[in-house]
């Protein structure tokens, strides 16, 4: 795994000392909130409804057992005993005291973590496919490139004050598990005709109040040019992105207003000037960074595990877990396992300190000490021998972490909503909990099949509702929580933005409404193999509208 180089470590330590001093001066009243706010935001500290909130970056979602243990320690010592994993592959602590934040940041620095660039109009945490380096279908591990982009964008003087925040995602496979079409820049690692690495580059995706899918700006940028190309996009955005209106400042608006062809021309022009210069990525440098992400030493194993198969036959709940939560690995005899943070009726993305410790131990014992955070708000053990799955399952069950629902209807994404967030219009988490309870029975989930529900508490869309197969958006209707339902959204390579199906529902009605949608799908699908999304795309909104609102 990537190790901080000297520069990173020294810089992060310096930043902690600097921020400690700023906090001290603020607490003594030597600087005002107006002076302090930008400083705390630069260090990931927000003020929410009940307390400060600290957002910590988990670069490309990769964590070691040591880091996870430290997060558990922080949850226990400085928070209320839990943390919230987010769709941005970050973790947020909801209850830290400002006076403790410097101590937290210095504990994080010891394990090479920080909260820099988790806020503000800069390039945010670069996200990646959570099965990176493990998935059977990837062209190459996307994380070295996410890391190269992280290094390039960290504290980049030119790009620290962009018109608006900027999010980059990288996927290593054609099957997009990183929602790259919903990011300001999305990259897909590809192989050229000669086997060399390059990237399909997408630009101008985003959610929020104006959801847009990114457009392909270049089908193949060779590895050596990728930094220069991304830099060229940022330069054009920095010059022409709108600064007059916060709601029109994201690059998606620039793409929309300028047109992808004209934008491509501008980017190519810029690119032609910087190509091959200091931003070139020499093969040796790419190789050096790739070495940090070298796969662990896999043993030679048979592709099928007799041990696991026997255990499955003996234990139907394990069998169901295996069907639901394992993902095919590139090495024979290995798998990637999703640790669901969506217990039935629970809080999507929350993990207690004890659970974090348990995951750290499990990863250490069986999974090369590697853990991932997924944008679906789950944790992943990317490399695990199939033979060890029964033991891991036992250990997960003991920690309350063996929910078998990855990709199922109860694997719900929800933002913090009005329970925590100062910007919210309505609650998200209680809606998620109720839906999870309504559909929680294993037979019911199996009957429904893959279906994603995504919930945001306001139009900022942190809960990805625009790309939920069923999306739920909380709005304020004359002081009451009110929920709009959209259908047909999807974040992967066949990305689409969901369509609002009709008038919304009060909290009491929204659970039933979702069930009506689900039942309509089950009634009309061609076979149990036809998923909700496929059926919706075939049927259109009409039958769902009719079921919800009558003819």
């Amino acid at each position: 795994m990537y190790r901080y180089d000297e520069f990173d470590a020294a810089f992060v330590r310096e930043r902690v000392v600097q921020f400690s001093d700023q906090v001290e001066r603020r607490l003594k009243g030597e600087i005002t909130e107006d002076e302090f706010r930008p400083l705390r935001l630069m260090n990931g500290v927000y003020l929410q409804l009940h307390a400060y909130m600290l957002r910590i970056a988990v670069p490309y979602g990769t964590l070691s057992s040591t880091q996870m243990r430290r997060l558990a320690h922080i949850a226990r010592t400085y928070d209320k005993g839990f943390g919230h994993f987010t769709t941005r592959q970050n973790i947020q602590f909801n209850w830290p005291a400002l006076k403790d934040v410097p101590a937290i940041l210095s504990e994080l620095a010891e394990v090479e973590m920080h909260a820099i660039q988790t806020s503000g109009n800069c390039i945010r945490n670069v996200t990646a496919d959570h099965f990176a380096g493990a998935a059977f279908d990837e062209a190459d591990d996307p994380r070295p490139y996410a890391e190269i982009l992280r290094q390039w964008s960290s504290l980049h003087p030119e790009f620290s004050f962009l018109p608006r925040k900027f999010k980059i995602a990288v996927t290593g496979a054609a099957h997009d598990r990183a929602a790259i079409r919903l990011h300001d820049i999305g990259l897909e690692v590809k192989r050229g005709d000669d086997g060399g690495i390059g990237f399909a580059v997408y630009v101008g995706g985003g959610q929020g109040r104006t959801p847009m899918l990114a457009r392909e700006i270049n089908p193949f940028v060779p590895e050596a040019d990728i930094l220069a190309y991304v830099d060229a996009i940022l330069r054009v955005y920095n010059l022409f992105g709108r600064r007059d209106n916060k709601f029109k400042a994201r690059i998606k608006i620039l793409v929309h207003e300028t047109g992808i062809d004209e934008l491509r021309r501008m980017v190519e022009e810029e690119f032609a000037q910087i190509r091959g210069g200091v931003l070139g990525l020499p093969a040796e440098e790419a190789e050096r960074i790739r070495a940090y992400f070298a796969p662990p030493r896999f043993e030679e194993r048979p592709a099928v595990s007799a041990k696991l198969n026997a255990a499955r036959t003996a234990n139907p709940t394990l069998d169901r877990f295996v069907k639901q939560n394992l993902h095919r690995h590139k090495a024979p005899g290995y798998t990637s396992l999703t640790i669901s943070l969506k217990p039935i009726g629970g809080i999507p993305g929350d993990a207690s300190a004890d659970q974090m410790d348990a995951v750290a131990v499990i990863a250490e014992t069986w999974a090369f000490s590697e853990i991932r955070v997924s944008h679906e708000q789950n944790l992943i053990l990317p490399h695990l021998a199939l033979d060890d799955v029964p033991d891991v399952y036992q250990a997960l069950a003991a920690a309350g972490l063996a929910t078998a629902n990855a990709g199922a209807i109860t694997d719900i994404i929800a933002c913090p909503g009005l329970d925590y967030c100062a910007l919210a219009n309505a609650r998200s988490i209680p809606i998620a909990s109720q839906l999870s309870e309504r559909f929680g029975a294993p037979e019911r989930q199996d009957e429904i099949g893959p279906l994603s529900i995504k919930i945001s508490g306001c139009i900022n869309a942190c809960g990805h509702h625009h790309v939920g197969h069923i999306g739920i958006l909380g709005v304020d209707r004359k002081g009451e929580e009110f929920y709009q339902i959209s259908l047909g959204g999807n974040p992967d390579e066949s990305a689409s933005i969901g369509e609002i199906i009709g008038p919304g529902f009060y909290a009491e009605g929204v659970i039933d409404a979702v069930e009506t949608v689900v039942d309509t799908y089950i009634k009309l699908r061609l076979s149990p193999e036809e998923t909700f999304l496929t059926a919706y795309r075939r049927l259109g909104e009409a039958p769902f509208k009719e079921a919800l609102y009558g003819a």
Partner: protein, 96 residues
């Protein structure tokens, strides 16, 4: 209309309410109930002095009702601030 003054305490961010004595406390029932514009103006001025003095931030008057002898904010957002998140915590073994 009945109002009280709320803010977040600077050093820990906790939700606090202003008492008649001018203290900031976590217990919403201890807040000073204000029913006149004059009184509100005075209280806000005093509260803003506490902002200047770096004790609290984000001072705001909020509308409340008194139900069964208890102060209950009118808006859901303020009820959640006063009484805590409405999420269940029983799904997080080991959390307190």
């Amino acid at each position: 209309m009945l109002e009280i003054l709320t803010a977040n305490r600077l050093y820990d961010g906790d939700v606090v309410y202003r008492t008649a004595a001018g203290d900031w406390v976590a217990d919403v029932d201890a807040a000073e109930l204000i029913d006149s514009t004059d009184r509100l103006t005075l209280a806000v001025a005093a509260a803003n002095a506490d902002v200047k003095a770096s004790k609290v931030l984000d001072v705001a008057p909020i509308a409340v009702e008194v139900t069964d002898g208890h102060i209950v904010p009118k808006r859901l957002r303020e009820r959640i601030r006063a009484f805590g998140p409405t999420v269940k915590s029983d799904h997080r073994p080991g959390a307190n």
